[in-house]
Amino acid sequence: MALLELEEVRAGYGPTSVLHGVSLSVPEGQIVSLLGANGAGKTTTLRSITGGVQWTGDIRFAGRSLRRMHTEDVVRCGIAHVPEGRGILTELTVDENLKLGSHLRRDGAAVRKDYDRVFEYFPVLRERRRLSASTLSGGEQQMLALARAFLTKPRLMLLDEPSLGLAPLIVRSIFEIIRTINTEDQVAVLLVEQNARLALEMSSEAYVLEVGRVAVRGSSSELTGNDAVRRSYLGY
C-alpha cells in the first residue's frame, strides 16, 4: 500500500481553482518527483497535502484520510514539509529553528544523534548556531530548512524545489543527503523540482503536472528514455 495517496484532488485560492483533479501516490520509502512548468500547481499540490489550502477529493496518509485535518495535525502524523521559500523563522536563532524541528520528539538520545548527523551534513549550521537565522544566505537557509525537516524524524518529506538558488556543488551534495536520508532512514520523499534531470536521477517514479492536471506519469527511467516527453515537458 502506498504511504501517501492523492485522489482527484481539486484545490485553489479563493475563486481561482488551480488543481483540477490530481491523483498520485508515493510508496513507502520511495522518492517520487513532481515536475511541471511554473504555475502548474506543484506547490499547490504540496500545500493541499499539509492543509495549506482548501481541497476536495481525498488525500490519505498511511491509510488515514487527511480530510479536514489542520496543518499541525497532518505534520504530527509524520510529514515534513519544506515549503517554497523555506519557512525559516527569521526572528529566531539557527539553534532555535532546529529545536523547533525536534520539539515534538521524545526520544532524547536519538535526537542528539540526529543533531550530530545534521551538523555533519551541514557544518556551516554548527558555526552559525547562535546567530539569527535571518542573516543566513539563501543557500544556508535551504540547508537549515532541510536539517530542520530531518530532525522531525518524518516518514515522508515534501520538498518544494530544494535546489532553488543553490550552487551546483551544494545542489549535488544536498541531493546526496536527501538520498542518504531516504535510504538510511526509509523516509519517503515527494520532490518538487525544476531541475528535471536531477530529479529523475533521484526518483523511482515521476509525475508531470500541466495546468493542474497530471499529464504524464511513469517510472523515472521510462520518462528519461522518452524523448517526446522529455522535450515537451521536461525541457532538456
Binding site: A37, E140, G165, G235
Partner: protein
C-alpha cells in the same frame, strides 16, 4: 570604458566576513557573471553597490563616481537598476503600475503637480504609461499588464521585475538569480531575453546565477567569489577549467 569599478570592497557583519577585499570591473557593453557558493557574498555585493548596505572598507565607483556619495534612491539615476533574489514587487499594484514606478526617475512631477494635475503632468503620465507598456511588451507580458502582481507565477514575477528595472533605461543592470526557480523552457526564454536586452537596448549586465549552462552561455566574463574573496576571473571557458573554482563551486563534473 569602465562602468562599474569595485575596489577592495570588504563587508563585515559582526564576526561574519561577507566580502573580503573584492575588486573587479564591468565595462560598458559587457555581460559579467558573478558566481560562487552560497553565502559567498554575491547578494551582499549587490546590496553594497545599490547602497542597501554600507561597506566596511573599499569603494564602488559608478562611472567614476563613488556610490557612497549617493543616497540609495539616486543610484538608479546614475544608470544602475537591479532585480532581487527573492522578487520584491509592489504587491498591491498591477503589473503596469509596478513598471511605471520603475520609471520614477524619468518623470518629474512632484506632489503638488500630482495633486493638481496640469496638462503637462497628464501628458507626462501618459508618456510614462506608454513607455511602461512598451517595456511590458518587450518582456512579453502584455496579457497580464492589468493584473495585480500578487498571485502571478514566480517566473512571471521575475519578468515584471525585469521590466521595472529596464524602464529606467539603465546602463548597467544587476540581476540576482534571474533563472532561479523557473522552469527549463523559461530559462531559455530568459537567456534570449537577456541577449535582446544586451543587443537591442545596449545595457551592460552584472548577474548572479547558479544555473551554469545559463551563465556560460550568456556572459563575456565570469567573476568567482568564495567566502567573500575573489578566487577567479576570466572568460567562461577559463573559469570552468579553473581547479579552484571546480573545487569550491562546480564540483567534479
Amino acid at each position: 570604458m569602465t562602468l562599474l569599478d569595485v575596489r577592495e570592497l570588504s563587508v563585515r557583519f559582526g564576526g561574519v566576513v561577507a566580502l573580503d577585499r573584492v575588486s573587479f570591473t564591468v565595462d560598458a557593453g559587457e555581460v559579467v557573471a558573478l558566481i560562487g557558493p552560497n553565502g559567498a557574498g554575491k547578494t551582499t555585493l549587490f546590496n553594497v553597490v545599490t547602497r542597501v548596505y554600507r561597506p566596511t572598507s573599499g569603494s564602488v565607483l559608478l562611472d567614476g563616481e563613488p556610490v557612497s556619495r549617493m543616497p540609495p534612491h539616486h543610484v538608479v539615476r546614475h544608470g544602475l537598476a537591479r532585480t532581487f533574489q527573492n522578487v520584491a514587487l509592489f504587491r498591491s499594484m498591477s503589473v503596469l503600475e509596478n513598471v511605471i514606478v520603475g520609471d520614477h526617475t524619468r518623470t518629474k512631477s512632484g506632489w503638488l503637480q500630482s495633486t493638481i494635475p496640469l496638462p503637462g503632468t497628464v501628458r507626462e503620465e501618459a508618456r510614462a504609461r506608454t513607455r511602461a507598456m512598451e517595456m511590458i511588451h518587450f518582456v512579453g507580458l502584455d496579457d497580464v499588464a492589468a493584473r495585480p502582481v500578487a498571485g502571478l507565477p514566480f517566473g512571471t514575477q521575475k519578468r515584471v521585475e525585469l521590466a521595472r528595472a529596464l524602464v529606467s533605461k539603465p546602463r548597467l543592470l544587476l540581476l540576482d538569480e534571474p533563472a532561479g526557480g523557473i522552469s527549463h523552457e523559461e530559462v531559455d526564454a530568459t537567456a534570449r531575453l537577456l541577449r535582446r536586452i544586451h543587443d537591442e537596448l545596449g545595457t551592460s549586465v552584472l548577474l548572479v546565477e547558479h544555473h551554469m549552462a545559463f551563465v556560460m552561455g550568456i556572459s563575456d566574463r565570469v567573476v568567482v567569489l568564495d567566502f567573500g574573496r575573489k578566487i577567479a576571473e576570466g572568460s567562461p571557458g577559463e573559469v570552468q577549467r579553473n581547479p579552484a573554482v571546480i573545487e569550491a563551486y562546480l564540483g567534479a563534473a
